[in-house]
Symmetry: C2
Subunit: 195 residues, 2 copies
DNA sequence: GTCTATAGGCAGATAGAC
DNA sequence: GTCTATCTGCCTATAGAC
């Protein structure tokens, strides 16, 4: 073990985050409790507080890990998909994968609860969106240079619209429990803006 | 008074709904309490329970009233705006007005909390979205017949995409507290799909 | 690191006086 | 219709034993 901690317990914070993440993505930050997480892991409430003293800190850790993982996926797309249209399609597929797990985007659902979140979580949500927009903007600029994408207006502005549209498509598809609806919306919204 | 109730108290249920509606649109259904409403109205918790015995019933009443009011706005648009493109623009303006009140669409924010809502509220949220789609579909069909709108695919499917895109634009614009961002997104998303 | 035990507060909800 | 008073339960969080 790199950390030198008890091997059997080494992954505990990660397993806590795994369970909490799924709960937040399905029920929202105000819709889950320490007890929900504890019950699933068969540990006590107090044990969770050892790893994440406050719910706010747990929330910050959730966003940080989610953002890291998402960023890694974006880098993987850039490494594996050469053309800009393919990268945008792969980007939409990331959202579809989340939806397949019957989840909302973590930061999408936190955006809905934004006015009730601790300040540090708010800032982290914004950073997630900003990072997504920066990546999308880069893809758009590259696509325009290569001639594989054509659009009017500022790339950053288009990137914002793509993010909004995909988050909205997730938000609405989930009550209908309809993955195909999301994919249909995503396809239309993307092709529409890049006609 | 048509109801024959105490004049001074006649509007109490409405005032309760007014306060609760704003709280839900800003903080979510799991982010407000009877006490929050009571404090704003300077009445007691128990008094609220007289009018709305359970939080679920309060939630159902909120969606019912919101849907009625929204439907009335849609009829007003059809009566006042002759052309289909103008109707779509007016539809987007309804969302902008909500956002100006620093609120999310009531059913949009409830969609995020969907998995935690009582069954009757879930059904009512779906009905709201369906009603919106039916209206949008009608506008799209009329626009295509008149030649003022052109698009590929089923009108109902486009209507779904418009709803998703506008809800998403609201969801993301609110953390940024940026009305212009919403309007820019809405314009692009609409013109893109109806190119 | 995990436990038992518990604190202190707020949630939704009810009984009964006025 | 609104009040006071109260119930029960869950919430986040902490103290201290093991």
């Amino acid at each position: 073990m790199a950390t030198g901690t008890n091997p059997a317990a080494a992954g505990t914070p990660q397993r806590i985050l795994d369970v909490a993440e799924r709960l937040v993505q399905r029920r929202g930050f105000n819709g889950f409790s320490y007890s929900n997480v504890a019950a699933e892991l068969s540990v006590t409430n107090a044990s969770l507080h050892y790893h994440f003293p406050t719910k706010a800190e747990l929330g910050e850790a959730l966003i940080a890990r989610y953002t890291e993982r998402f960023t890694a996926e974006l880098e993987r797309i850039e490494a594996g998909v050469p053309d800009a249209p393919g990268r945008l399609a792969a980007y939409a597929d990331l959202y579809a994968d989340v939806l397949r797990g019957e989840r909302m985007c973590l930061c999408g659902i936190l955006a809905a609860e934004y006015q009730t979140l601790p300040a540090l979580m708010c800032a982290a949500v914004i950073r997630f969106f900003d990072q997504n927009e920066v990546w999308l903007e880069r893809v758009l600029i590259k696509g325009r240079e290569e001639g594989s994408l054509s659009f009017d207006g500022e790339p950053r502005s288009i990137a914002q619209s793509i993010l909004s549209a995909l988050e909205g498509a997730m938000l609405i598809a989930r009550p209908y429990d309809d993955l195909e609806r999301f994919q249909s919306d995503a396809r239309r919204l993307l092709t529409g803006m890049l006609a």
